[in-house]
Symmetry: D2
Subunit: 150 residues, 4 copies
DNA sequence: TTTT
DNA sequence: TTTT
């Protein structure tokens, strides 16, 4: 019935993606994403608040994540809230919430791209190569009718 | 690159959809949507502000709009900003902005569905019949992997 | 940093709001919201999927919810994901996710359902009485109550 | 009523902000933001599509933009669509759409691009000085300046 | 566990 | 006019 369930996040990965290749060409990637907000408390002191999100990506999205994302990567995410519910050993109802990612975009590429002198593999500073960015936006495939004569 | 261009609207149609059936099974629908916000001005008086949006829908979305929407319908819209630019007769650069709708959802259905005694065809109070709602949400087709064994 | 944590929902309340009036004029309301999506599975059968969300509203928003919302109400919600973490009796880390509502808007249903005596077919005739809608769109001005002892 | 009018953008500035300081401590900044999407056309060729947006920021947001943003800056923007309508010299109705920015966040790019002297391989080496980011996330507290003579 |  |  007329439902909308949409999540929009911008944050950094707390760890490299965890990727599982399943039977039948299925791939699932799990990411930990931190979104941090800063504000002043009532005493005017700056306070930081970090929320950690469990992201789940499937198939094409998972493969792109595996190839291009790593600990520290900054991404824009669009997805939906999705929960698993089950009973634990004591028979208690349990619930776990994750974000099912529908599309994501790598952020933080240097505007000038060229020489950043970065030779260290552990830094996040890689620009999002163009063929990475393209599929990352892959959910807008229906644009082909944009070139109608109107 | 890494671009995001997203518009989310909730409002009411100012007129019935204008639908054109084109060659090659193409269909385009144009809608006028009003979003109204209310706030208090500096004197504490309530002020209403209405913004009118030009929406454009193609193909499947256009057909659903044609079939189920009418003047007054309340909808949730997700889309993107899209502008046309051209030169007018005087050689001035002109620009027109519209919202390319990617998905929409009909609102205002009664949760309990049951008879509301409404027999007037021109009122907006129609519930969104279930087969209308389904295609209106049609952009989430990739959910079929939801039923994996995890 | 540079974080964004945004949730947008449209759904119906599964129960009347639970409201607690606390010391110091603080008010908190908890809502259960269902967002339902429908899609066709691989066999072409229509499947419905309902996700339940725990919403938390404070102060002005909570008061409006208490006054105008009830089981079945359809609302548009904007908020953010917010989790509590703790250790349970067995020393296991536990986490509970809720949606902290920053603003909400009542959608095209009569707040109380009952006959509104509307006999004018052409009116946009809508519900959510005007003084309800106005504060319902008010933005939450501060996050300072985030540090309440809950 | 019950309106929602929300725009979310991620893109790069096409030019430095244009800032005007007005009487009464009012400040307005105008930005040109490009959002680029890439997709494959029906022949499998990669196509890029850039949309240009006119952003308008007031007061606190405008001051932050003036201080920290420049041509090429990548930002996340949340705002609403706002149009001006008028009659031109020929008496034709004209309309111009812009995005009224309610909040923005600087994304992972060095504000000034050039040498940041970062020699530490493990840092995300990033810019957007902390006091810039903080206020940049501040919400615009009032719409009352909407009725300025512009 | 990220980031600034 | 940005970015990749």
């Amino acid at each position: 019935m007329a439902g909308v369930n949409k999540v929009i996040l911008v944050g950094n990965l707390g760890a490299d993606p965890e990727v599982k290749h399943l039977e039948g060409d299925k791939v699932v990637a799990n990411l930990r994403l931190a979104t941090t907000e800063a504000y002043k408390d009532r005493n005017g002191n700056r306070v930081e608040n970090t929320e950690w999100h469990d992201l789940e990506l499937w198939d094409a999205q998972a493969r792109i994540a595996e190839q291009y994302l790593k600990k520290g990567s900054q991404i824009f995410v669009e997805g939906k809230i999705k929960s698993d519910t089950w009973q634990d050993d004591q028979g208690n109802n349990r619930k776990r919430v994750k974000i099912r990612v529908l599309s994501f975009t790598m952020l933080g590429s240097r505007p000038d791209g060229q020489n950043n002198g970065d030779t260290n593999p552990n830094t996040m500073s890689r620009p999002t190569t163009s063929n990475a960015t393209m599929p990352a936006n892959a959910n807008d495939m229906d644009d082909s009718d944009d070139d109608l004569p109107f």
